[in-house]
Symmetry: C2
Subunit: 392 residues, 2 copies
């Protein structure tokens, strides 16, 4: 009587997990410092000191009954207010506490957003390359994920294909900029073109097409990159955020879904979120971490190492002959594989203790992902391996 849905998911081997296992084995064999692990998106810089101060200070300063008591499903009102104000100050938005729903990370925010605006059987569109977990997230809502093929020249949006695939059955577009795995940040011009197309099609189909904007990398944008706040460009936007990357807190699962106050029936969407929580076992984000987020939401960890690593890699890999689109943010890049089969290339890299992830799982075979959230000295020591790999 085990559910077929989950049994079938077990059949699909997770490549990242396989690489992770091999990297762990090699760490034990040859030492941490000799394994060039560029496979995981785990931040390499510590959380800001203010996080530690909040974590230790809040329990010292707060009555434990108040501190640990149930929070409303959507979060503690003052926390939601603090986050709304921070978004308004940064982006000139007009959120109130009532537009912010605190969640256990971006994954939970996406689980709420998709369930709220897409009914079972409807389609959610996304763009290659995309985070490999999107398929599981969308399937879990009973919806169908369709992936718009990549524009491999820019890794922005393949508009002709998007226009072709935008059918009346599309309830939402799941969008991720700054992008995992390409590191590309879509420009204001691209976002506006997307918004125009969605508005046109919404009018044509007689129902809104929602933009679910997955933004865990929003605060990792490199100098000179044009990075608009997406909800400012399209009203029917639900912004899904996590503090995992900006505050280096991936294990603490703290984030939120922000419903644009200008969206169609924004208040109803928030009410649906509360109901959705009841059905998925998500009974609110942990109270302590909510309070920490409220105190630190305007800060980031020192994210500069990612830009340093990006420059170093772009310059070296380009000189070795790798082809790639230069990232505008994140801690990823997504070069073309020197071998036609990126899996074979990544296997070859593994033999040199360099861990990379083939692009197949991100919907773009023939490319591979480098997660450069590692110390810069490790990037430097890995460069000769990258060079050797393209020359063999």
């Amino acid at each position: 009587m085990f559910s077929q849905q989950y049994l079938q998911m077990l059949q699909k081997k997770d490549v990242i997990f396989e690489i992770f296992g091999y990297a762990s084995k090699r760490r034990r064999e040859i030492g941490e410092e000799n394994v060039f692990d560029f496979s995981l998106g785990n931040p390499s810089v510590p959380a800001p000191e203010a996080v530690r101060e909040a974590l230790t200070g809040i329990p010292e300063q707060t009555d434990p009954l108040t501190l640990h008591s149930y929070s409303p499903a959507g979060g503690i009102p003052q926390v939601r207010e603090a986050i709304a104000q921070d978004l308004n100050a940064r982006y000139g938005a007009s959120y109130t506490a009532g537009n912010i729903f605190m969640t256990c990370g971006a994954a939970a925010a996406l689980a709420h957003a998709i369930r709220a605006v897409a009914s079972p059987g409807e389609t959610v569109l996304t763009f290659a390359p995309c985070f490999s977990e999107y398929e599981a997230y969308v399937a879990g809502c009973g919806c169908l994920l369709e992936v718009v093929p990549a524009d491999t020249e820019t890794f922005e949006i393949n508009f002709p294909m998007l226009e072709e695939m935008l059918s009346p059955g599309v309830a939402a577009v799941l969008f991720n900029s700054p992008n995992n795995p390409s590191g590309v940040v879509c420009s204001t011009r691209t976002i506006r073109a997307l918004a125009d197309l969605l508005k046109k099609k919404s009018a044509l189909f007689g129902h809104p097409i929602w933009l679910i904007s997955d933004e865990p990398y929003r605060d990792i944008v490199f100098e000179g990159t044009d990075s608009p706040y997406i909800a400012n460009e399209y009203e029917n936007t639900i912004t899904c955020y996590s503090f995992s990357k900006s505050l280096s807190l991936p294990g603490e699962r703290i984030g939120y879904a922000a419903v644009n106050p200008k969206a169609d029936q924004a208040g109803l969407v928030m009410e649906l979120f509360t109901q959705i929580s009841r059905t998925t076992g998500h009974n609110g984000a942990p109270a302590l971490l909510q309070r920490v987020a409220a105190k630190t939401c305007s800060l980031t960890a020192d994210l500069s190492v990612y830009e340093t690593n990006c420059r170093l890699l772009c310059s070296a890999l380009s000189s070795f002959g790798y082809e790639f689109v230069r990232p505008g943010g994140t801690f990823y890049m997504f070069p073309k594989s020197p071998l036609p089969d990126a899996k074979a290339f990544c296997r070859l890299a593994m033999e040199h203790d360099l861990m990379l992830v083939p692009g197949d799982g991100f919907g773009v075979p023939g490319h591979f992902r480098i997660a450069y959230c590692v110390p810069t000295e490790k990037v430097e020591r890995a460069l000769p391996v990258f060079e050797r790999l393209i020359r063999t």
Copy 2:
């Protein structure tokens, strides 16, 4: 295109929420001390000092990158091991880390357990009176909840009705002892009779009937009460636990699902849990709270006030003429309503600023729930109100 499922849930008014709103209003009007709020199951005793020490000590003593890094879906191995060892020491069980899946509270544990062993369309049985959220939990899995009518004499198990309702389509039995809302703790004899019946029916139907044991109140059991560890009595048991009540941490959403190592394909169930997490947005319990749980899982808050309050209420309410089954644990009791309509009775109580919850939402109309997780002096001051209510 909003999902009908959640829109329909919105139609059903939540009585507890309504009472909560009224109680908040009255608090502002007449002061906290004059509102006798027995409506919510929010612990009234602080978390043990060891929780505060762990919360402040762990961030001081741990490298932030290690502290806040991603944990595996099922939890940090050492945390899972600590919880397994604690269960083994308490109950003579034989859990290993591989049987423990850390979750964001008992709700998430239940969401995993039901999805793992019941396929959409199958039936989950539970027993009246039961926690009102079970319907949402089970519906969220695409399954049907059927409620075995209460044995109102004992509030243990109505075996004739259970036997009649155990059909081949029943995948799991969702069980809650110590029970919310009755406070009743099922005896070893009752649990063994349940286990025998489930074994017999499993053999007859040719598939296991799983016992999903919801145990957030396991550690609140009063003197002299026989309270067996349920998984020791039935092999195909998944135990869902939360530290909300035992450690007074309801807002921190930390708990686990423990799969009995003797269960059918126990390892596969754990693997399914990982897949289920991917589809519900539950990407693991927060790392810091996992570490706190590992350090404090053998402790409890000072829970003695609940037993004091229970004795006081039982003695007084009995002398006033209320009829009820004496609780063996929890911080609830579930008397018969002096008026045939418990909603009318609770509305009357509200007019005296005494907040109670009618039994209708728990599947037993004509009864009402008292949540006596309040200071003892408040119980004492509320007794005259209870007396007045039954005499009018």
